[in-house]
Every structure is written in C-alpha cells, then in structure tokens.
C-alpha cells in the first residue's frame, strides 16, 4: 500500500461508494408530489462529482456512465423534465450500476457483460423517457459540464493545414488568456526531421493549463474553428478539495512539460509485466500473486476505520494536557520537601486521574461509529421488498446518530436484515387486511436506536398484526417445546420463536418464513454479548429490541470472591444474587445440590469444583451467598464467598500468551493491578453437566 496512486484510488472508491449511497438515500427520501430543488441538486452533484473523480483517477467507464447520467439529470434539475416514479426506479438501477462499476474497478476488472447490458438498456430507457417527456420550454443543452472547478487541462494539436488556412493561432491563446490564467507548454513531439519538413504544414501541439471558472462551453468555443476529430482534449483540473495526481502538480508548480509526464506515465509498467517480459516469472505465478494481494487488500480495507478529524483533535489536545500534568508531577516530586508540594502533588494527581479517564473514553470513542451505517441500507431494501410484495409502507429511522462499536456494525447487518424482512413480510398486513382492520393502508416500520444505561437499544418496530400467542403456543406444543397443558405468559412464549426451526408463518414466502433465521438472529446478538426483547400486541404490531453492550472491549461485570481468588461474572448473564441458609440447600443423589427458589429447583454449583473438577472444601458458613445466572435457557445458582461489586472491566485475552481455559472467557486487570478471570457462564454450565454425566 505504499503506492501513493493506490491510496488516491482507494480514497476515490470510498468516496464513490458514499456518493452512490447519498444518491440512493436522496432518491428514496424524495416526495414526488413536492420535489425539493435541493434534492435534485444533491443528485446532480453526486453524479457530477463521480464523473469528475472517475475521470481524474482513470476510470473511463465510470466517467462515461456517470456523464450520461448527469446529462439525463440536467433537464430534471432545470425543471424541464418531471421526476416520475418510473424515472426514480431507473435512477435507483443506475445507482446499482454505479456500485457494480466501482466493485469491478476495485478489482481492476471490466464491468461484467450482464451489467453492461443492463446499463445499455437503462440508458436507452432513459433516452426514450426523455423524448416522451413534455417538451421543455427551451431545448435542453447538449451534455454540459458546468464545472465551477479550478479550470481545465487542454491538449491541443493544431491542424496540419492551419497555416494554409490562415488560422490565427496566436489569437486563440489570447482568447483563452481572457478566460483566466493560462499556462502553456509547446509539444514538439510530432515535429519531423528538418529534411522532411514541409514548411507549410503545421506540426505544433500545446499542453495548456487554464485556471478559470468559465464553463467548459466557453473554452470549447475558442477552439471552434480548429477542433477536428480528436486533436482537442479538454479535461477538468482536479478541484482544490481533492488531491491532484503527482503529474498535475509537477506540471503546474514545477513547470514540467505535460508531454514528458505523459511519456513517463506510458513507460510505467506493472512489476508483473516486467518480470514476465524478462522471463523471470511465469504469467500464472504473477496471476496467483495478484490474487493474493487482492485478498490481503480486502482484509486491510475491512480493518480500517474512518475517524472524524474532530475526534482526533480532541485526543491530541488531551495528550497535550497529559504532558503538562506529567511535568507538574515531576516538579512536585522534585521539590518534595518544599512547602505545599503535597498539595501540588494532590492537584496534579487529580488532574491526571481525570485526564486518563477522558483519554480512555475518547480512545474507545474512536471505535464508535453512528448506527446510521447499519440503518442506511434499509430504506432501499424496504422499498424493494414492499414493491415485491405489493405492500405500501413507510420506513421511519430514528436516532441514527447513536454511536456503537465499529465491530458491531458488520455483525448487526444480518440479524437486523432478518428482522426487517420479517416485519415487511409477516408483520405488515396486506392493504386489504389493513383496511378491514381499520388501520391506515400504509404500514409503518420504525428503526430506532438509543442508548440507555450503558447499553445500546435498537428497535425494529412495525404496526402490523403482531405475534399471535395462541398460534405460537400451539406450535410449541406441537414441536414438543412445551408440555400440552402449559399456559405460559407472553414474555415466556415469545422467545420461543427464536428456537431453531420454529416458524409460524402460514405460508412460506420467497422472503422469509422458513424457520431458519430467527435462531441465527438470537445467536448473532448473543455473540455480541447482547439480548433481544420482544413486545407484541395482536393486531397492533410488534417491537423487537436488540440490547447491546456499548462495546466489545468492555464488559459490565459483577466481581465476586471465591476463596482467595476474584472472579468476574458478565452482568448480562446474572439474574440476581441472594443469601440463603445452609440448611436451605438440599442434596439430591447424595452430592448434587439444589435450592428451591420461588417454587423452582435450581442446581447449586461451587465454582471451585466446576473449574478444578475436584471436591472443593465446603464452607462451614451458616449463610451461603448465591449468584443466580442464566445461559442458553438454563439456570444455576453459583455459590460465592463475597460480592465485591459491580464494575466495568476491560476484557483481555488469555489466549494471546497462554491458552483457552474452559469456563473462562478472558481476564481483566483489577484496580490493584491483579488479574481476575472472567467467567464464561455458558461454558461453566456445560462443564457442570459434563461433570454430572461423568459422576452419574
């Protein structure tokens, strides 16, 4: 990744994807009855920037396509052409094509034939529609490029008969000079040897940089009488906001003739080509290596985070403050015997404390990205699904600025996609059913994110017909998940839809209802250390709430003491803690201990025994402290010696230098510098049932 061009290209791809996303979002958000001119401008600007950037970074296919798109958008922007639902649909397809283009370009491949055809068909469509559209009051201008950028680079070869025709080349430059600041380099590459020079032929060519805000049409006009065939090339210069290619800088700032830059660029060969040409490597070997490089590159891409400059600035400031505090401390320590040094030390320590805490928060903040990154893909998806199923619905997004750990973003996409699909497919009723139920014909799906009590909540809410408890109960009994006479409350019933193979959809549709998925949704969310709450009312709709920890690197824990050691229970798996009398714990089959809690028998486990496998010394205490934990629907009461408190702990891996330990999910460092192990409740329960089988 040391190639600077490579970095620019990557920046181009990133920006191109963002532009495509913004086009899509704008298209989906537009109200066709009352189109905001600003939205049209946004669309146009996106297409325009894409075109400009693609041209600059050498992706002619993308530039050509976006150029055509831009010309279709121009009359729309001018108000000469109405934005119809059909046109929106086509523009959405165009956005998809742009993405395919970007994808292909990233892999340095041409656009696949299928997409190529789609593109041609789409352009033909747009052309037709344009022709059929109400005649604009004034003829739409030919594909314009109203660049208000910094200007143009022009390569101009004078026609061979320029002298004979009496073309005044000098005037040409004067006219150009009037448009702005002109830099010119003669290109004498085509000049023949003196003996073969025909004095009346013109062999001159120029490279020009024109710094000007004038539109391209004005520049073209200057060359009106001399432009023929391909002797004139006008390209926009890189706008100030972007990084120009090194060649352009060399030309503008250092006066290197563009012809030389072009020649140098033409000589640049790929390493692979050189190796193949000199017979040092076989073409297959180079291909393999390129494949590997692409793989690595993809991995590297996934591992980078774009961080707002503002966040970085705050960090820099904070580190500056820390340095000052450090100096204060050093001074206070040096003059330790002086008067008031103790006080100074205390002040500095207090400051240090605040700063380290803030530094930690801010550094963690770098990993945080707005939830918008997950939400943004749903408007399009819902739009497509609704169309596919003939349902009318609105998607409402709330709390998009809520931040969550970057790692969550990728891992949230699948479960959320599943929930949203379910909401569209099963949640929202058909138009007829809604009308019959006296609901507005348009359904609403709301995605809402907010943080509460150190957790991020993400809701997927629909105003459809909700979950039917009776049907779930029937199904659960059918599948043997519940005894035939069970009458559970809704809160116990609803989670059953997460059981593998459980689907109450009457009809298996193309979209969902195959019973795979809901269990995967729950697994994914659990893997993130979160859980799902379901609230639903028959006929009114359902709300699925994903409750996630703020970050994967920090865990809410309950610290306990068992013997001489400190352990941490993840708070997410702790239900409650309570004290009981020694006599309340009864033994079954001699050594299995249980306790009756609100009419339910819950196994009592001794941590030492599970972890060490041996029979730990039984405490002779009269009262026993128990922590009730739950994992995978199983509950157990863990006996501990002391509850030390509830605190956030930073998760450290045991595996980096040691190995995985059963029943332990990691380690953390306590305030006094000691290491405490974090318990893996799920693993512990599995260990215990394993032990039980052995002893049985």
């Amino acid at each position: 990744m040391s190639d600077p061009m490579e970095q620019f290209r990557n920046a181009f791809f990133e920006e191109a994807v963002e532009l495509a996303d913004s086009m899509e979002a704008t298209l989906l958000a537009m109200d066709l009855q009352a189109v905001e001119p600003e939205d049209l401008h946004t669309l146009f600007r996106a297409a325009h920037s894409l075109k400009g950037n693609a041209g600059t970074f050498g992706f002619p296919a993308i530039a050509a396509f976006t150029h055509q798109l831009e010309s279709f958008l121009e009359p729309v922007r001018q108000g000469h052409r109405a934005l119809t639902p059909d046109l929106v649909e086509h523009l959405l397809q165009a956005v998809d094509l742009i993405r395919s283009h970007i994808y292909a370009a990233q892999r340095s491949e041409p656009l696949p034939a299928k997409e190529q055809q789609a593109q041609e068909a789409l352009l033909a469509h747009l052309q037709e529609e344009g022709a059929a559209a109400p005649a604009p009051p004034a003829p739409a201008p030919p594909p314009p490029a109203p660049t208000h950028g910094p200007g143009f680079r022009i390569h101009f070869e004078a026609p061979v008969d320029a002298f004979r025709r009496g073309v005044n080349l000098e005037r040409l430059f004067r006219d150009l000079g009037r448009l702005g600041t002109l830099q010119a380099w003669p290109d004498l590459a085509h000049l023949p040897k003196l003996e073969s020079l025909e004095p009346e032929d013109c062999h001159l060519a120029w490279d020009l940089h024109l710094d000007s805000a004038a539109p391209r049409a004005d520049v073209e006009e200057v060359f009106e009488f001399v432009a023929e065939g391909d002797n004139l090339r006008i390209e926009p210069l890189t706008p100030d906001s972007q990084v120009p290619p090194i060649g352009e800088i060399l030309e503008r700032e250092e006066g290197v003739p563009p012809a030389d830059v072009r020649e140098a660029l033409a000589q640049q060969k790929h390493l692979g080509e050189i190796l193949i040409a000199t017979g040092k490597a076989k073409p297959e070997a180079v291909d393999r290596a390129l494949g590997q490089q692409q793989k690595k590159r993809n991995q590297a891409e996934a591992a980078t985070i774009r961080v707002a400059t503002e966040k970085v600035d705050r960090l820099v400031n904070l580190v500056g403050e820390l340095v000052i505090t450090q100096a204060m401390l050093a001074q206070a320590a040096q003059s330790a015997r002086g008067a008031g040094s103790e006080e100074r030390m205390a002040v500095a320590l207090l400051q240090l404390d605040r700063q380290t805490r803030e530094l930690q928060e801010r550094v963690m903040g770098i990993r945080m990205v707005p939830v918008e990154m997950v939400f943004s893909r749903f408007p399009r998806m819902v739009h497509e699904l609704a169309k596919q199923m003939g349902k009318e619905l609105d998607l409402v997004l709330e709390g998009q600025a809520t931040e969550l750990d970057k790692t969550f973003i990728e891992m949230l996409v699948d479960p959320m996609t599943h929930l949203v699909r379910n909401a569209v497919d099963h949640g929202i009723e058909t138009r007829e059913a809604r009308a019959a139920a006296g609901k507005p014909s348009k359904g609403t799906i709301t995605l809402r994110a907010y943080s509460r009590g150190g957790h991020i909540h993400i809701e997927v809410k629909d105003d459809g017909h909700g979950l039917d408890p009776a049907r779930i109960l029937r199904k659960a009994i059918e599948r043997g998940l519940l005894p035939a006479d069970a009458r559970p409350a809704d809160e116990e019933l609803f989670p059953l839809i997460f059981e593998p193979g459980f689907s109450t959809a009457e009809q298996v549709s193309d979209v969902s209802g195959r019973g795979v998925g809901m269990d995967v949704v729950r697994q994914n969310i659990r893997a993130l250390g979160g859980r799902i709450d379901i609230a639903s009312q028959l006929g009114r709709g359902s709300t699925f709430t994903l409750i996630l920890p703020l970050t994967l690197a920090i865990l809410d824990g309950l610290t306990v003491r068992v013997g001489p050691e400190t352990f941490v229970f993840p708070l997410a798996s702790v239900l409650e803690s309570f004290q009981c009398r020694r006599a309340d714990i009864r033994t079954v089959k001699g050594d299995r201990e249980v306790i009756s809690l609100r009419g339910e028998f819950i196994p009592v486990m001794r941590l030492q025994r599970i972890l060490e496998g041996g029979g730990a010394a039984d405490t002779a205490e009269e009262r026993v402290l128990l922590v009730l934990v739950e994992a995978e629907g199983k509950r157990a009461a863990m006996a501990v010696d002391e509850l030390l408190g509830q605190q956030q702990v930073v998760i450290k891996s045991l595996e980096t230098h040691y190995r995985r330990v059963e029943g332990i999910s990691g380690a953390t460092i306590l305030g006094d510098g000691r290491v405490a192990l974090i318990l893996d409740v799920q693993g512990l329960l599995r260990l215990e049932s394993g032990n039980a089988q052995v002893s049985a």
């Binding site: 050691e565 400190t566 972890l611 060490e612 496998g613 450290k652 891996s653 045991l654 595996e655 980096t656 230098h657 040691y658 190995r659 995985r660 330990v661 059963e662 029943g663 332990i664 380690a667 460092i669 510098g673 000691r674 290491v675 405490a676 192990l677």
Partner: protein, 166 residues
Amino acid sequence: MSNLPSAAQTLSQVLCFALAGEAYGIPILKVREIQAEAIITRIPKSPPYMPGVINLRGAIVPILDLRQRFSLGDPPEGGRPVIIIVEVLSRTLGIRVDAVSDVVDLDGSAIKPPPELGGQAQLGREFIAGLATQPSAQGGESMLILLDLDRLLSDGELHSIEAAAP
C-alpha cells in the same frame, strides 16, 4: 534452534540464575525483562508448575515455575523469587526462579553436551542444551546448566497451546 552452537568460536551472552543451589543460564536474547515477584492469579486446572498468570503492563502473561517443573521442591522460607520475562515462539512468558545473578559471555568451546544421567535426573535432561564451565570468583571453576528454552516451553502444558491454536 539449539543453544549448542556448532561453531566452536561463537560467543554468546547468557543470563545466569539460581535454582535450588544450582546455576542455570538462558540466552540473553530471549530475555525481555526481569520482574520482582508479582501477584499470581491461579488458572483452574493448570499443573503445579504453571501456577497462573500475572499482569505485565496490561498483558496477561502465564508463569512457569521452574522449581516445580524440575521437581526441586518448595523454595526456602524468606526467599525472594524473581520472574524472568522471556519471549519464545512469539509468546511472552514469565519464568519463576530463586534469584538472578549476572550476565556472562560464554565461548562456544566452553559448552559441553550434557552427560548421560540416570534415574530421576534423566527427567529434565531433554531441556538441557549443554553444560558450561566458567572461572568462579574464588579462583576455581563453576558449572552452569544451559537450558533449551524452546524445548522447555514447547513441552507439556504449553504444548497444548500449539494444539489448541487454530
């Protein structure tokens, strides 16, 4: 990589430490730092010679107790064991020993292969890279047991690390 150099002229630096009255040495290049005894957190089901992990500036690092490993019995009362932090096979590990003495330059020719030892002593032989003699302060010669760290750490308990790795 063995600590027994093939070229007799190689000069290597060795960190010497004491263990139950004997002098041992390990190549200094593997040593990252030396720590005073830290609080060790026990890891469940680990063998007696792996008493647990410590916090090394935020990293969780396992400890290998050499006395236990070589069945040399418990350390004497009042001793102040030291932890030598080494890096082997890209893992960091602490080795608990009785005391660290000094760093010596060893001439390759001074290193002899370990003799055949019978019975109980044979147990630890595979971890010994060689024996070296060096002039002692009293004018005589003392013996230094050179350990093969890679062997020592890829054995037994730590071996399961490799097995568990994907």
